[in-house]
């Protein structure tokens, strides 16, 4: 459609082609977006290319040996510590994204179908906690899940347990809980947007034709909201795999994730090429994992239909 629109502009007869192009919609659009685009090119795309280049080089004490090598990737993929960190990071980000989407879907559904005139207010209330300091929220979860924390004292005073639970904090469950909380709004918003786009008469039609509430949901609402579910998945899963703060504060020993190892290569260990290779591998692995989740979701929804 974009090229078609351009075609009509390009075909308009003009005295000087170049002059007319300069005044065309395309030229103006490109000129308008170029400052932002160039900024992103210089401070996002170029740095990522440099990371890619470094991942094929070698650290030689203080210098960088620029001969091509796959040694960093061999290390990243075969050394047991990195392998364990990759597996755990992917597992945590997968659990977090599934849990976030599953727990957030009813909220998005509630706001879209029962929010009434206050939909914007509901959306605002959902997003407020996500905008307040990430560091402080993680710290707060430490207070909630800790040995003498809110959860333990609460459960003891309710008589559910008589000894404080030590299993709440400093493990991967604590990391998952904290991350599900952090990313809630990022899942609710895309799902809400796709639910809003659904033509409500389709659901009514399904109900009129004898589908139960649940069948109408599974066969009409869910498939039509799939684009929102998929973007919620991607926007939660990909960033969480490289989370740095949460594992450090609430993860303890068996909640360490790959970001800690990446950071170490740029800090104490001072092995940039290995750090770069770990970063690239993380991106590739999480992209593959995300792609397979998207594929599986599409397949599952098609089967339900």
């Amino acid at each position: 459609m974009t090229t078609a629109a351009f075609g009509t502009i390009a075909e308009t007869p003009s005295a000087s082609r170049r002059g007319s192009w300069m005044r065309s919609e395309e030229a103006r659009g490109l000129a308008m977006i170029s400052p932002t685009f160039l900024y992103a090119l210089a401070l996002l795309f170029l740095p990522v290319l440099i990371v890619l280049a470094y991942s094929f080089w070698t650290q030689d004490y203080l210098d960088i040996d620029r001969t091509f090598t796959l040694e960093n990737y061999r290390q990243a993929l075969t050394e047991p510590i990195y392998r364990d960190l990759f597996v755990r990071s992917l597992w945590i980000s997968l659990s977090v994204s599934i849990a976030t989407v599953v727990f957030s879907y009813p909220i998005a559904w509630f706001i879209s179908f029962h929010g009434g005139v206050h939909r914007n207010l509901w959306l605002f209330l959902v997003t407020v906690p996500c905008w307040t300091s990430y560091l402080l929220r993680v710290m707060s979860w430490k207070v909630i899940l800790g040995y003498g924390g809110v959860m333990n004292t609460g459960l003891i005073s309710l008589g559910v347990i008589d000894q404080p639970l030590t299993s709440l904090l400093y493990n991967s469950n604590a990391v998952v809980i904290t991350l599900v909380h952090s990313w809630a709004a990022f899942a609710i918003l895309p799902i809400y947007v796709s639910l809003q786009k659904i033509d409500r008469t389709l659901i009514e039609a399904a109900r009129d034709l004898g589908d139960s509430r649940i069948r109408a949901f599974l066969r009409v609402t869910l498939p039509l909201s799939l684009p929102g579910v998929i973007s919620a998945f991607l926007i939660v899963m990909i960033p969480t795999v490289g989370d740095f703060v949460t594992p450090r504060l609430v993860g303890g020993k068996d909640g360490v994730m790959i970001a800690t190892a990446i950071q170490a290569q740029f800090g104490k260990a001072a092995n940039w090429p290995l750090g770069a290779a770990l970063s690239v591998t993380t991106m590739v692995l999480v992209s593959l994992a995300a792609a397979s989740v998207v594929f599986a979701l599409r397949f599952a929804v098609r089967r339900i239909r």
Partner: protein, 272 residues
Amino acid sequence: MSLLTRRLAFLPWLPAYVAVYFLFLYLPILLIPIFSFNNAATTTFPLAGFTTKWYGTLAGNGAMLEAARNSFVVGVCVAVLSTTLGICAARAITRYRFRGQKAAAGLIMAPLFLPEIIVAVSLLMIVLALGVQLSLITVILGQTVFCVPYAMSVLVSGFEGFDRSLEEASYDLGETALGTFRRVTLPVVAPAIVSSLLVTFTISLDEFILAFFLSGTEPTLPVYIWGQLRFAAKLPGVLALGTIMIAASILMLTLAEILRRRAENRTRIALT
């Protein structure tokens, strides 16, 4: 009959679920203010009585005030820079159609879909490879990359309803490009712009990872807090500081939301 019972069985579940979910969402940010007024150095129930002494300790804390000043400077610069870049991109996307539009927008929005640590590490590498000293300027440049997508989403929704025939009418009536922008475009899109400034300032104020990697010797508030978290005795002071930061964030977001809604209403009026 079965329909009715199912309806009755179904309906109370959803509000109850929503209530529990909101408790889950708000519990962590409510606990910070509660414990910041608690007269004990530990964060356990039952509460030990009301005090404001932790806030008192902040006033005399030079390192914290210095970090707050850094955060403010960075926040203002990031807000202005990312909103300016956001205006260009949002206008290009809502006003024009051109080849490569999707690709350009995709690159600009990419930080939303990247692990922040990878953005941080890649920026750190390019900064050090160029031999640039880490300072507040590198933090500003880095956080801007990260804030532009948010600025853009606020601005695109503000610009979308804008009727370009208003601008054309202004040109036809003899107004210059600058005059049209100042007298026609700006009044309509101003609330979206202010809203974007507030949102990006808030993100910058709370952003940790980029600041942690790129800040060198001058910490911003989150980097300062990170340093304090190692010492259990400093926790109450951090909670008091955190309460102030949360209050500031909520205040700015509420203001941004009010402005954004006003912008929406105004474009709707302009269209009718």
